[in-house]
């Protein structure tokens, strides 16, 4: 049985996260009639569980097979989704976190929003290990400005060449650093590592219908007042106001359909609650389902289920998969034991960071890894106690019990600081996703099979992080208590940072890339990709802002072509 959505849409946008939400907003603003399709459920912003305490949830809200990242991980989320399994090559151990709810992963992300800099677009010229992007920073700058004006960014500019600032009339005031952040900033600066208040997609001033942060609830659950940006509170409502938007939820897009000339004619989907299949017709299709889900749709599409899929004459769909290599080094600070208590929650996310500083050294070839990283600073007593985290404070004295244990826990509470490294991986031949030849999802479509390997570029970078973080912690009087094992053991799990990009990368060469500089696929001229799949490289600067800035820009191209009748 097939449900045909008979409305006559200009564009079907698949996925409602950063890329899809921005596409829906931008296209409808330009007068384009859009059907936005989301696999997860709809959610009214008022239904976001902002204020609930862990002890009001089952099992103190810890992770379960139903909710891998905890009870309040808002939406159908996790690496393990029973209806939608995936497989990994032996040893790959890829973690594919998915967030299926209106707004997608923008409900959950850390809101860290550094811009790419001029170097990030020309790595082909700098080290030759990746192609250049088909756009430059100068071309992207106006789109960063426009995107940030809609998203809302607070923070301070660094003044550093490859960490470009935001114009003063767009940038909202930065948030006061916490005491442990001040200590880490001072120590980092002393040892030659730059440290600044970071750019967050968190409002410190009202913006349109959205309100400034009130500094009391966890951003990772979503934010019903729209202070912490998410597509569902901040882009989709704007798109709705145009009257040009239709939203279809609980609909999993399976394939892109094409006519005899190879043009996209729309998509097929399955209603995830009833299993009934449907079809949506449109003049153009935008895939923004997340890098790997988009690759899955493209590989599943095509004539008679051809294993090469749609828009894949380059053979690059699913290839060049990268994630962010990461490591955490934790310091214990006797000087912070029993320190004065205050409301350290702030805007929940980090207020400061240390951007990469070694560009010149890498140009000179004095480092044994080619790409940069940034440092995040965490812990203190920022977050309310959670069940799993208490071990760190209670287990330092031989699993003691009884009188004295409370004092022990109180003394250690807030006396740890961790430094998180977030690096850049260089794409390699062994890291990709492809269709599994045997395993199918609940609805009979092939699932993804992941292959993944870090290389010495990443391991060497991790080693450099460990050394740097130790220096910063020790200069501040701390003692490193974890994170200094062999880089191969300490590096994050593949996919673990949920920054997977590159699987439908854009470029200037149709033989080695999937999309052109506008995210338009080389092979199917009315099929666009607007998620992280298009990023040719994966710099250490969290992907969401770039995905949105590209979508903002590329929708202008798509809208113009629709208007001119090219599509």
């Amino acid at each position: 049985m097939t449900n045909v959505v008979n409305e006559d849409y200009d564009v079907v946008v698949v996925g409602s996260g950063g890329g899809g939400g921005m596409a829906a907003y931008r296209l409808t603003s330009l007068g384009v009639k859009v059907c936005l399709v989301e696999q997860g459920p709809s959610q009214d912003p008022g239904e976001i569980p902002m204020f609930q305490r862990d002890n009001e949830a089952p099992l103190r809200a810890v992770g379960t097979p139903d909710k891998n990242w905890g009870y309040f991980d808002n939406g159908i989320c996790g690496t393990w989704l029973p209806d939608q399994p995936y497989t990994s090559e032996e040893g790959a151990n890829f973690q594919w976190y998915r967030a299926q709810v209106l707004g997608g992963r923008t409900n959950h992300y850390a809101r860290h929003s550094p811009r790419m800099g001029p170097y990030d677009f020309i790595q082909g010229d700098l080290d030759g290990l990746s192609p250049n992007w088909p756009v430059t920073y100068e071309e992207m700058k106006p789109y960063y400005d426009a995107t940030e004006a809609v998203v809302g960014i607070s923070g301070a500019n660094t003044g550093m060449y490859n960490h470009p600032g935001t114009p003063e009339d767009i940038l909202q005031p930065a948030i006061a650093p916490r005491t442990y952040e001040l200590l880490m900033m001072a120590s980092a600066r002393k040892v030659g590592v730059p440290a600044f208040q970071r750019h967050n997609a968190i409002l410190t001033r009202n913006l349109g219908d959205r309100l400034a942060c009130f500094y009391a609830t966890p951003c990772m659950r979503g934010c019903s007042i729209g202070a912490a940006f998410s597509s569902s509170t901040s882009l989709i409502p704007l798109a709705n106001k145009t009257g040009k938007l239709t939203i279809l939820t609980r609909a999993k897009v399976c394939t892109v359909e094409t006519d005899k000339d190879g043009k996209a004619t729309g998509v097929t989907f399955v209603d995830t609650q009833t299993g009934i299949e449907g079809r949506i017709k449109s003049r153009a299709v935008v895939l923004a389902a997340s890098a790997c889900a988009t690759a899955q749709i493209m590989l599943t599409s095509g004539k008679n289920g051809s294993k090469d899929g749609i828009a894949n004459s380059s053979g690059q769909v699913g290839r060049n998969l990268t994630d962010t290599p990461a490591v955490r080094v934790t310091g214990k600070f006797a000087s912070l034991e029993n320190r004065p208590r205050y409301d350290e929650f702030g805007a929940n996310m980090d207020h400061v960071y240390m951007p990469w500083w070694g560009y010149e050294a890498q140009k000179k070839g004095t480092m044994d890894f080619p790409r940069g990283y940034h440092i995040e600073v965490g812990q203190g007593f920022r977050d309310a106690p959670d069940l799993n985290a208490m071990k760190q404070y209670s287990d330092r004295n031989g699993l003691a019990f009884g009188e004295g244990l409370r004092d022990e826990i109180r003394r250690h509470w807030g006396s740890f600081i961790y430094l998180d490294g977030r690096g850049e991986m260089v794409a390699n031949d062994k890291s990709y996703c492809a269709l599994d030849a045997e395993v199918k999802n609940k609805w009979g479509y092939p699932v993804l099979r992941f292959s993944f390997e870090w290389s010495d570029y990443e391991y060497n970078q991790i080693a450099h992080m460990q050394e740097t973080f130790s220096t910063i912690i020790e200069r501040a009087g701390g003692e490193v208590v974890s994170g200094l094992g062999a880089p191969k053991d300490e590096i994050s799990k593949p996919g673990g940072m949920v920054h997977e990009v590159g699987t439908t990368r854009m470029g200037t060469d149709p033989d080695s890339t999937v999309c052109n500089a506008y995210g338009q696929t080389w092979d199917v001229d009315n099929l666009y990709v607007m998620d992280g799949g298009v990023l040719p490289t994966n710099p250490h600067k969290n992907p969401t802002l770039h995905i949105m800035a590209l979508a903002y820009r590329n929708c202008e191209n798509l809208a113009q072509r629709l208007k001119q009748g090219e599509i």
């Binding site: 976001i48 569980p49 609930q52 002890n55 949830a57 089952p58 099992l59 103190r60 379960t64 097979p65 139903d66 909710k67 009870y71 003044g159 060449y161 005031p173 948030i175 006061a176 650093p177 916490r178 005491t179 001040l182 200590l183 900033m185 001072a186 120590s187 600066r189 002393k190 730059p194 208040q197 410190t204 942060c213 009130f214 009391a216 609830t217 320190r339 208590r341 205050y342 409301d343 350290e344 929650f345 500083w357 007593f381 309310a384 106690p385 959670d386 069940l387 071990k391 209670s394 699993l399 003691a400 019990f401 009884g402 009188e403 004295g404 244990l405 409370r406 109180r410 509470w413 200069r475």
Partner: protein
């Protein structure tokens, strides 16, 4: 030799060595405990009752998209712990984190209900605790009988403490008490985690729970800033270029990164 602090005697701290403890257990069992049906291992230690059945839990779980607002008083799944289990758990939990003049005991903030929820949950990640509760308190009664001829719930505070000391000590090695050691580690960790996630536990930590603020986040309080400034200055780090407090950040000298940067 490892020295252990027995915690629950407020007036004096008794130090017992591991050897002394084992000797104590042996002498107690030798003094009068009989051993019906080969229930003891060496050193007066009761055998772990592997044959005690652990109830199976059948429930679909709370699902992938639960109602975050209507969680309900009783939670998503039927509860399986008996009132005796709950009292046994409360006794153990209250030994781990005894009440103080200002902070309630775990039993006063619903620790038994927490364990009931946890051990009744239909997820594999909680099933080890279900097993350790159902078999572990049978073991505790047997051990208490061996040492004191009474069940766990009937033991005095110091008697119960002696058994928990044994379990704590066992958690350091892989001796015959390996299951009891795991029971101690697991129930201790969950007790602490569950306790400090209550409002009362947060208060005992001195955690300042965030409250909605109008206007800018003020940053650290004066005494917190004094503390970190003194620390930073004492470490010979630079205080004057740090962005302190709410915006605008126009105090002190501006920080400019001078390093490995193209000009």
């Amino acid at each position: 030799m490892v020295e252990l602090a027995i915690g629950s005697t407020p007036k004096r701290q008794i130090k017992l060595s591991r050897r002394r403890m084992i000797q104590l257990a042996i002498s107690m069992s030798a003094l009068g405990a009989c051993d019906p049906g080969g229930e003891t291992l060496q050193d007066g230690i009761a055998k772990w009752p592997d044959d005690v059945p652990v109830p199976e839990v059948q429930h679909a779980g709370y699902g992938q998209f639960p109602d975050y607002f209507e969680i309900g008083e009783t939670g998503p799944w039927p509860k399986i712990l008996s009132s005796q289990h709950k009292r046994q758990l409360e006794k153990l939990a209250d030994l781990i984190l005894p009440a103080t003049e200002t902070a309630p005991a775990p039993s006063e903030v619903g620790i038994a209900d927490f364990f009931d929820d946890w051990t009744s949950a239909p997820y594999p990640w909680m099933s080890d605790t279900r097993k350790t509760v159902h078999q572990g308190f049978v073991w505790l009664d047997k051990q208490a009988q061996l040492m004191f001829k009474q069940n766990w719930l009937e033991l005095s505070g110091s008697q119960a403490t002696q058994i928990v000391e044994m379990m704590q000590e066992a958690s350091r090695d892989e001796g015959p008490l390996i299951q009891a050691a795991w029971m101690y580690k697991n129930l201790r960790e969950l007790t602490i985690g569950a306790y400090y996630t209550t409002p009362e536990g947060e208060a005992d930590l001195g955690h300042v729970t965030a409250q909605p603020i109008t206007g800018d986040y003020p940053g650290p309080t004066e005494d917190a800033l004094d503390h970190v400034r003194d620390l930073i200055v004492s470490l010979d780090l630079d205080w004057d270029d740090l962005p302190v407090g709410p915006p605008p950040y126009d105090r002190g000298k501006p920080y400019v990164f001078i390093g490995d940067e193209p000009k």
